[in-house]
Symmetry: C2
C-alpha cells in the first residue's frame, strides 16, 4: 500500500506556515506499515491541485489531502477531488445541520459561505466533524474504487483526530490488514542515535527476522532520542502482549538511558519522583536564566511540588540573595552554595542549581559550554557535578536544562 | 520564472525531521519575485528522485534540490542530477582539496567516502562550500541550458548561505532581473493579521498599483505579525531609497503596534531601552514560571542590564521572599508588591512582575487567562495592569511573556 500526501495552501509555499502536518502523517503512515514515497505542497489553485492529484494517483494507491476544506473561495480541495472523480458536488444535509448547530451553540451568526463545507463529491463518504466545522472525506477513485483520496482539515488537532479515527483504519482495511496496532515510545537521554543504534544492533537484527514488532528511532532535538516499538496483533491484547515481550529486551540494551515512556517528559518524570517522596523543589539558575523553572511549570499541577527559582543572573544576586561566597561564580563552590541557598530561601526540600558559561565569551577562565550542577537533597551532603555542553549559546542552555534535570532524576530514581 | 523545490531525505517522509528548509526557501523565492507552485519531499531512492526531478522540470524553469549531498551511500542527489543531465560525475580536484583541508584542520582522519562530495556532474558549476564539506551545484539542463537545477545541502545554515550567495542571484540573473533587492521587516505586536490588513488596506491598494515595493505579512506565532516591505532598485542605494520612502507610510497606519525592525526581538528592544537609561531590571514571575527571564537571558549581553528573577510559584515564596501581603495572589495588590519586591530583593532599578491563571483550573476566583502585570519604575508609583490572555495553558503563558515585555517597552519608549 502506497500513500502520498498533498498539503494544500499557498501560505505553505510562501513559508508563512511550516507544514508540520505532512511530517505527522508520514510518521503515522510508517507506524501503520504504509509506504509514503512522495509528499507535496501546492498552493490554492484549482488547475494545479487537480494536476498534482492526478499525478499522485498514477503512482500511489491512496492520497491524503490536508487543508483547503475551509469555507472561503480559496478552499478548493472539495472541487479538485470532485473533478478528479468526475462527479458533482452535492449538499449533504446532515453535515449542513451540524455546521448550523455549531454556530448556533456558540451564539454566532453563520455566514452562508460556511455551507460550502457541507458540499460533498457524489459517492464520497463523510468523516463526521467532531471539533471543527469541516468534515473529512473518503473518496473512492475509478470504476472499482480500488484507489482512494482522503481529505482532512489543515487544523492540526482536527486532522489528528480524523486520521486516527477514520483514515488509518480505512487504509489498513484496504491493505487487507485486519490486525490491530499497539506501540510504545521509550524516551531516552544521554546517548546519540548512532550510539543507541549500535547498542540495539543485536535486537534490531532479531526484529528484522521476526518482522513484528518494528523498531524506529525518532530524533527529538533537545528532548533526546525516542525509540518506538510498533506491534501488530489479531486484537489489542495480542498486539500489547508483543510489546510487553520485547520492551524488556530494549531495556536490556539501553535501559541506562531510559527516563520515561510515551507522553512522559523529563520534567514530568522528575516531578513524579519528587511527589512520590513528598519532597518539594527549589531552583537557583544562572546560566539557564529561568528555563528550568519555565519547563517545570509547563507541567499542569507543578505547584504541588515546585516552590520556585532564584534566577541569580547577576553575581550580586548570588552573593546577596543566595549567600554564595565571594569568588568565581562558575565553580563547584558556587554551585553548592546556590543549591543550598535555593533550598533555604525557597523553603524547599530539594535544591537544584545551575551555573555555567553559555557564551559568546568565556567567564572566570571557564570555557563556553562549562556547566556546574549543584544538588542539595535532605540529609545528604550537597554535591557539585561538572558537565561539558556542546553547541551555540541557545543549544548550550537548552541542553543544560535537560542534563541538570536528568542528574536530579538519577539521584531520585 | 517558476522554481520548484525538492527536499530529499527518507527521514523527512517518516516524520523524523520536519522539513523547514522548503518553507524558508519558499519565503526567499517569494521575496525575490520568483513563483514557486509546488514543493516536494522524496526519500533516498535514486529512481524516484530522478522521476520526480524530471516531472518538476516539465512544469518549472528551475528546481532547487535540498539535501542528499552528504558522503554516505544514501546521499543520491548528485547521481540523480547527473542522470537527468545525461552526463557523468567527475571528481573535482579543487573541491576534493578543500574537503581534505577541512578534515586536516580539525585534526580528523578523512574516510574515503568523503570524497564522494567532490563528485560533480560534468558541465555543472560548483558553489564553493564555506561552512560544511559539501559544495552546492548549479546544473544547466537541456542543450541551451535554459532550465537549471540547483543542489544545496540540507544543513540549514549551509543552505541559507548558498541560497543567498549563489542560488537567488543566479535565478534573478536568469529572469533578466538586474535589479537589487532591499527589504525591511517591521515587527508588530498587539494586532491580528486581519486587523493589520484592514488598517493597511489603503496603502496596500496604492502598492498594488505601483508594484514596488511589495508588502507581505508573516505570521510568527507568539512573536507577533511581521510586515515585510521588499523593494527592487537599479542598485542597493535606490532599492533602499524606495524602502525609506514607504516605511513612514507603514508607520502612519500601524505605528502604534510597531516594536522593532528586522532582527529585533521584544526582549532585545526592552534591554536596549533599559540600557539607554542605565537602568537594571529585576523580575518576579509566578504564572510564567521563569519564561520571561529565560527569554531575556537568551540575548547575548543581557547580563549588562538584567539582575535576575524571583520565580515565586508557591504563595509562600511570594509572602516570604517578596513580602507580598497575605491574601489573594492573583490581584493588583500582589502584582504591585511583587514588582516592588523584585526591585528591592534583586537590587534593580526596574521591577516587572507577572501573576495570573494559566489553568487548567481557575484560581482565587479569577478565570483562566487572567494576567496581572506589576511595574515598578524609579521615582514613580508602582502600577498594576490587568490583561486577559487567550488560549491553552502553554499559549496563555507565552502570550503573557511578550505582553508584559510590551507593557514595559511602552512605558520606557
Amino acid at each position: 500500500m502506497r500513500c502520498s500526501v498533498i498539503a494544500v495552501g499557498t501560505e505553505l509555499l510562501l513559508g508563512q506556515i511550516v507544514d508540520t502536518n505532512s511530517s505527522w502523517i508520514g510518521e503515522r503512515l510508517a507506524a501503520n506499515g504504509i509506504d509514503s514515497h512522495v509528499q507535496f505542497k501546492v498552493g490554492d489553485n484549482h488547475r494545479r491541485i487537480v494536476s498534482l492529484l492526478r499525478g499522485a494517483l498514477d503512482e500511489a494507491d491512496a492520497v491524503i489531502m490536508c487543508g483547503g476544506l475551509g469555507p472561503t473561495h480559496d478552499d478548493l480541495t472539495r472541487e479538485a477531488i470532485a473533478e478528479v472523480m468526475g462527479v458533482e458536488l452535492e449538499m449533504n444535509d446532515r453535515v449542513a445541520d451540524v455546521i448550523r448547530e455549531i454556530f448556533s451553540s456558540r451564539g454566532r451568526r453563520m455566514a452562508d459561505n460556511n455551507l460550502r463545507q457541507a458540499m460533498v463529491p457524489r459517492a464520497a463518504t463523510v468523516i463526521p466533524q467532531t471539533r471543527g466545522t469541516a468534515p473529512g472525506l473518503i473518496c473512492p477513485i475509478g470504476p472499482n474504487g480500488d484507489k482512494v483520496v482522503y481529505a482532512v482539515p489543515g487544523v492540526p488537532h482536527e486532522m489528528y483526530d480524523m486520521m486516527e479515527r477514520a483514515v488509518l483504519p480505512d487504509l489498513r482495511r484496504r491493505m487487507g490488514d485486519v490486525s490491530v496496532i499497539a506501540s510504545k515510545v521509550v524516551r531516552t537521554w544521554g546517548e546519540s542515535e548512532s550510539g543507541l543504534n549500535e547498542r540495539l544492533a543485536p535486537l534490531i537484527e532479531r526484529l528484522d527476522v521476526e518482522g513484528n514488532p518494528t523498531l524506529a528511532f525518532l530524533a527529538s532535538g533537545w528532548e533526546g532520542i525516542k525509540v518506538r516499538l510498533t506491534a501488530k496483533g489479531a486484537d489489542a491484547a495480542r498486539a500489547q502482549a508483543i510489546i510487553d515481550r520485547w520492551l524488556p529486551e530494549v531495556h536490556r540494551h539501553v535501559g541506562e538511558f531510559v527516563f520515561g515512556y510515551d507522553t512522559d517528559t523529563m520534567e514530568s518524570v522528575v516531578l513524579d519522583l519528587l511527589d512520590a517522596r513528598g519532597w518539594s523543589l527549589g531552583l537557583a539558575e544562572s546560566v539557564t536564566g529561568g528555563l528550568v523553572a519555565g519547563r517545570i511549570t509547563a507541567v499542569p499541577g507543578a505547584s504541588r511540588t515546585f516552590k520556585g527559582s532564584i534566577v541569580s543572573y547577576a553575581s550580586d544576586v548570588k552573593f546577596d540573595v543566595l549567600s554564595v561566597p565571594h569568588g568565581p561564580v562558575v565553580s563547584a563552590e558556587a554551585a553548592v552554595a546556590m543549591a543550598d541557598g535555593a533550598r533555604r530561601v525557597l523553603g524547599a526540600d530539594v535544591g537544584l542549581a545551575l551555573t555555567g558559561v553559555a557564551g559568546p565569551s568565556e567567564q572566570d577562565d571557564q570555557p563556553v559550554g562549562t556547566l556546574w550542577v549543584g544538588l542539595a537533597l535532605p540529609n545528604q551532603a550537597t554535591t557539585a557535578t561538572l558537565l561539558r555542553m556542546p553547541g551555540t549559546r541557545d543549544q548550550m542552555r537548552q541542553m543544560s536544562v535537560i542534563s541538570a534535570l536528568d542528574l536530579l532524576r538519577r539521584r531520585l530514581a
